[in-house]
């Protein structure tokens, strides 16, 4: 598969290539397995690089296996230690970058999402996840520095992409998924604050916010990732991306070639178009960007919150807040407000049912207290019987 993908890239004369390897759980749980596979991929990639002169890099994304135990111990134990081992071995195995889809807070978020419970969502994304990521990324950045590879970034995949997938299946409102997307921004910033430098993960559709706030390069995926999740974000993610990517293409044979090769093919043609437009200068790039943006933005609230103008507006409000909780609360409030304004003044189309939900969520968001300690105390009571361990997030015992 790796060989086929690289060959197609070479055939089409692609100049650069970033390959990401996301481990499956057994490869993190048994780091030796992850190392072996990384090594194989790196060897193929470097051979292609040497033979064809294409610039290639390998990003290793160990999956976060800490949630294999419920409630998950986040800072110790078997799974954590094996993750650390894989991080430490990545550089020697041939990886050029390290990333992760960290899962801190997911044990609270999943249920809160199904219940459209903003309070719980904000507790997971604004309190638990940032505390976990601060701990986790301090380790990752240290290890990357020690082994000479690049700490790239994290993603709200387990949160916002779950919401997006559920919205696609008409299980939760699209406006909720849009709000969760923006609410994932502060947690993502934690990685950059700890020293990650990008490019962000492709499945972090909240990437444009990272670019606006932290100034890091971002990977994005859109229609090219439809194989992994159908989404209303087909063109708009392309508007701000630095790397253009696909995602989890299953290695099934299509009539022409294995699906990953087909997908690589399509990515390259997308890149050709973007590169061709940018050859015509800054004006031209902005024109294509505007078309990409405007072709999606008004058709779905999840696309709307990725409009560059909205990203700038909300980002400015987020950076004024001192703590991740307050940033997340602001992100939610600002996203609700942006959607309301979008419907009122800018032609965003929402169905009657979505509008009803936007009101419900506005009411919920208005109730989020400004006092962080008050909020945490409230949530610790609310979730005292839930399957998570507050001390694993640096919170007091319940």
């Amino acid at each position: 598969m790796m060989t086929g993908v690289c060959e197609r890239a070479v055939d089409l004369g692609a100049p650069d290539l970033l390959v990401e390897f996301e481990t499956l759980p057994p490869m993190t749980v048994d780091p030796q397995l992850g190392v072996t596979i990384t090594n194989i991929l790196a060897t193929i990639l470097h051979a292609v690089q040497a033979r064809h002169g294409i610039k290639a890099a390998l990003r290793l994304t160990p999956n976060d296996s800490r949630d294999h135990r419920r409630p998950p111990p986040m800072r110790s134990g078997y799974y954590w230690e094996n993750m650390l081992r894989l991080f430490a071995a990545a550089g020697a195995a041939g990886a050029d970058m390290l990333a992760i889809e960290s899962t801190g807070g997911k044990e609270i978020h999943d249920d809160a999402l199904m219940n459209a419970d903003l309070e719980g969502i904000v507790y997971a994304l604004g309190v638990l996840a940032p505390r976990d990521m601060s701990f986790l990324w301090r380790h990752i950045v240290q290890i990357c520095n020690d082994t000479g590879i690049v700490p790239s970034g994290d993603t709200g995949c387990g949160f916002a992409n779950t919401a997006m997938a559920l919205a696609s299946q008409k299980m939760v409102p699209r406006v909720l998924a849009a709000i969760v997307r923006v609410a994932c921004v502060p947690r993502g910033l934690v990685a950059f604050n700890e020293g990650a430098v990008g490019p962000s993960k492709d499945c972090a559709y909240e990437g444009p916010y990272f670019k606006a706030i932290a100034g890091v390069p971002i990977s994005m995926e859109g229609r090219s990732a439809a194989c992994a999740h159908l989404s209303p974000l087909g063109n708009i993610p392309m508007a701000a991306c630095d790397c253009w990517s696909n995602e989890s293409v299953q290695n099934v044979r299509l009539l022409s070639a294995p699906a990953p090769v087909v997908s690589m093919d399509q990515l390259i043609f997308d890149c050709r178009l973007m590169n061709r437009a940018s050859l015509d200068g800054r004006e031209a790039s902005l024109t294509l960007r505007r078309w990409l943006e405007e072709s999606d933005a008004l058709l779905d609230p999840q696309a709307y919150v990725l409009k560059p103008q909205i990203v700038f507006d909300i980002s400015q409000q987020i950076v004024l807040q001192p703590t991740p909780y307050l940033q997340t609360r602001t992100a939610v409030l600002a996203a609700v407000e942006a959607l309301k304004q979008g419907v009122k003044h800018n032609g965003l189309t929402l169905s009657a049912i979505e509008l009803r939900w936007l009101d419900k969520l506005a009411t919920q968001s208005a109730a989020l207290p400004e006092d962080e300690d008050e909020f945490i105390a409230l949530m610790m009571r609310k979730y005292k019987d839930s399957p998570y361990i507050p001390t694993e997030y640096g919170l007091p015992c319940t």
Partner: protein, 210 residues
Amino acid sequence: MTEHPLYIAVLDGDARGARAAVEEALNAGADPQDLLSSYMIPAMDEVGKRFDDGEYFVPELLIAARAMKSGLELLRPLLAETGAKPVGTVIVGTVRGDLHDIGKNLVASMLEGGGFKVIDLGVDVAPEKFTAAINEHHPDILAMSALLTTTMPGMKTTIDVLKQDGLRDSVKIMIGGAPVTRRYATEIGADAFSESASGAVREAKSLLKL
């Protein structure tokens, strides 16, 4: 019917209201079985219909199911006294190696909303744990889910273990989850399959001929 406070409370997902409406009706001498079949079940049917029509989302399903459940808690002992048959007992769980519980939790809630007694074994359930639970609870239905193609074979393994232990014929088996297809269900000898959580309730009812 659709103006009865119990119907309205379940439809709106008002758990406190549902409890209050049940209490009030019982005090006024209503028949427990009648409350269930004339108001509560039709309300849940309407909830399911609205979901299928895209007018309700899952959060609305879940709160309606909770309202239903809180009303049922009052009714269940009375129904048992009058000898009315409970809807049925279902054991649910994701198969070994699978940690994805969003779909499983939803199915569990919907089944509870549909009046079933649900025993949730959680995630990553080994075949032996399923058999132990069957021996303990004597359920009508065993419902298994899997999100990954790599864990899906755990369904077949579980069914094989049930066969070995002579338990296969004592329960109906339902399966579901993203990679699961009707064809796979037939192949491994499951009794039913559903693509969606609301479908799961329908399938469960039809398995028990309700």
